[in-house]
């Protein structure tokens, strides 16, 4: 998996992409979807983790949206740390969704090269 921007990646067909989300100062309330399909949490309640198998044809993309649900009681410093990992290489850990962000449901695009 190769990064184009924080939210856009090139991947290989057959590669598995893993998105691990660590809640800091907030609860583990994370929901994810890939191109219209539910992504199940395989990481348990403490560390929500979502896996997708790249099965689109070259040129097409997986469009993944991950919503992090803050609550009013969460402190302003609450955030979710993302780790994106490709089974054929590439680990990226610098995506953060903060409570102070306006967007709590960022899009990730994985394009088959």
């Amino acid at each position: 998996m190769k990064r184009k921007t924080k939210f856009r990646y090139d991947v290989s067909r057959g590669e598995t992409v893993t998105i691990k989300v660590t809640p800091i100062e907030t609860g583990a309330r994370v929901t994810a979807s890939d191109s219209g399909e539910t992504l199940e949490n395989s990481g348990g309640p403490d560390a929500p983790t979502f896996e997708l198998e790249v099965d689109q044809v070259p040129g097409n993309s997986h469009f993944v949206i991950v919503e992090c649900s803050f609550l009013d009681e969460d402190p302003n410093t609450a955030h979710f740390d993302f780790e994106l990992r490709g089974s054929k290489g590439g680990v990226f850990k610098d995506v953060v969704v903060r409570k102070t962000n306006q967007i709590w449901d960022p899009e990730f695009r994985f394009t088959v090269s």
Binding site: T5, K6, F7, R8, T22, P23, I24, E25, T26, G27, A28, R29, T31, A32, S33, D34, S35, G36, E37, T38, P45, D46, A47, Q56, G59, N60, S61, H62, F63, V64, I65, E67, S69, F70, L71, D72, E73, D74, P75, N76, K99, T100, N101, Q102, I103, W104, D105, P106, E107, R109
Partner: protein, 510 residues
């Protein structure tokens, strides 16, 4: 809104030139865009600016456009397509993330006998973060005072050493069960923390929560949230990501045009960020939003509506189905707000039992300590708080007929709520109800060899996020020092720093 003139320096302009010219980007405005589109573009713009304000380079900050770009394209395509079904996008209200309703179980003010307290019964909740309450008035003492209470939990210090993630939250749960507070007697005109010192300590208190946990971070609450609220969030995400996929995977021509446009736009935004230092924040957000909508108009809306980019019947149908699903998901999310309120009510009504020890320094009369058992539960339709207490003098003064035991007794409070006319105006605002409570306390004051009856009616009015105005009328058969009955009115205000901090960020966006 005028679109700023931005030089087109990026090499990607050449690619974008296939679908638009730079001057067209500047000239076109997306008049009356769908609400959901404008809102998403505005939120994306705000995040780009916040990233810049955190010290990130302009070009990198502009890349945050990618976190919303695909949905912006999808909304625009739906707006541009012929027929009524895709135009449901114009009926979509701006998406609002679910947020918590207010909590009322935290004891933010002084204990009931502290200076300036307006609380007769004490609640057993323990704030995890620093909370501050400044209240005026008095109930049990003969002197009016002004009290400043600071309270915290050892878990706040654990967080200095360990990341406050879900695993540690569970592992160090014991520290969350303990709370402490100090109340300062404020005699100066400037009631700020910076102006208090140790000589002003009126009381200090330690609490241990024995039964119950009302944190929204517990596994139990997260499980309830997953059962009740998450399916509705999931439905929206599936509809949205599905619609994006149908639109962009279904039309390579549209995808290429949108991709080229986003690259050009990111360059323009970066250029604007570098050239607009000093421009008011709101104006910069509006300008970036207008730039974004303009690019969408030129490179997506116009080509689709003018059939310069043709979508297949299958793609059209897929977008239409996704849009219908999105409309339904948005409607369901309004009820999810109520569902969230419901499970928060469940949480807030779960029983709490706390043991408290408080030492009252010698502000007037002899210093004394007390131990209390604080219990709160829900007895429909009321929230009930029951306190039992006993207090004793550190050094009883025989001259005042004092013995070791000062007093003992119990308190019962029944509380309910009514609708608050002060409504939500921003995302982080919450509509907290007006709380009305009736309290009765019976105690025996040993040195007076007399029983004291106190009855109180209290109204707590949340006037805005984090600020509550408590008003109360109290009847007492006597006070500690004077054997005369009295009726007293009290007023004050309570501040919840957690909420005020969040509100401040909502205004500044920092």
């Amino acid at each position: 809104m005028a679109i700023p003139r931005v030089s087109c320096r990026t090499p990607l302009l050449l690619m974008a030139g296939l679908v638009l010219t730079c001057s067209a980007v500047r000239a076109q405005e997306y008049e009356n865009p769908p609400e959901v589109l404008r809102d998403a573009a505005s939120r994306g713009a705000a995040d780009i600016l916040s990233e810049l304000e955190r010290g990130t380079q302009a070009a990198e900050a502009a890349e945050l456009l990618d976190q919303v770009w695909n949905r912006l394209v999808f909304y625009t395509v739906a707006d541009a397509l012929p027929g009524d079904d895709p135009h449901e996008v114009r009926g979509l209200q701006a998406y609002r993330y679910l947020a918590e309703l207010g909590r009322t179980d935290k004891q933010l003010g002084a204990t009931s006998s502290g200076p300036g307290s307006t609380s007769l019964a004490e609640k057993p909740g323990i704030p995890e973060l620093l909370a501050l309450a400044l209240e005026h008035g008095a109930i049990e003492q003969s002197v009016n005072g002004t009290g400043l209470t600071l309270s915290t939990s050892p878990y706040a210090f654990v967080r200095l050493l360990e990341p406050d993630n879900a695993a540690n939250f569970e592992q160090y749960g014991l520290w969350r069960r303990i709370g402490g507070s100090v109340t300062f007697d404020m005699r100066t005109e400037d009631p700020t923390v910076a102006n208090v010192d140790i000589n002003q300590v009126a009381e200090w208190s330690v609490r241990v929560r024995v039964i119950g946990d009302r944190s929204t971070r517990t596994k139990k609450f997260t499980q309830r949230w997953s059962e009740v609220v998450q399916p509705k969030i999931q439905a929206r995400l599936n509809a949205l990501s599905g619609g994006i996929s149908k639109a962009l995977n279904g039309s390579p021509e549209l995808r290429d045009a949108a991709d080229a446009s986003s690259e050009v736009l990111k360059g323009q935004i970066a250029g604007y960020l570098e050239s607009s230092d000093g421009v008011p924040r709101e104006q910069r957000i509006e300008t970036i939003t207008a730039m974004t909508l303009s690019a969408l108009k030129t490179t997506v809306f116009d080509p689709i509506s003018e059939s310069r980019i043709a979508l297949s019947e299958e793609t059209f149908r897929g977008i239409t189905v996704a849009m219908s699903g999105l409309v339904k998901a948005h409607q369901d999310l309004f009820s999810a707000q109520q569902d969230l309120g419901g499970i928060l009510d469940e949480l807030n009504r779960s029983p709490l039992l706390t043991v408290a020890f408080t030492h009252h320094t010698k502000v007037q009369g002899s210093a004394f300590s007390d131990a209390k058992l604080l219990f709160e539960t829900h007895v429909a339709p009321f929230d009930a708080v029951v306190n039992g207490f006993i207090s004793w003098y550190d050094h009883p003064d025989p001259a005042f007929n004092q013995e070791s035991v000062r007093d003992f007794g119990g308190t019962v409070e029944l509380a309910g709520s009514v609708k608050n006319p002060f409504g939500r105006s921003r995302k982080l605002d919450v509509v907290e109800p007006i709380l009305i409570s009736a309290t009765y306390q019976l105690s025996r004051l040993e040195e007076a060899n007399d029983a004291i009856h106190i009855a109180q009616v209290k109204v707590s009015i949340p006037v805005t996020t984090g600020v509550t105005l408590p008003l109360s009328v109290t009847y007492a058969s006597r006070t500690d020092l004077i054997d005369e009955d009295e009726v007293r009115g009290n007023f004050g205000f309570s501040l919840d720093l957690d909420k005020l901090y969040a509100l401040a960020h909502a205004f500044t966006g920092l």
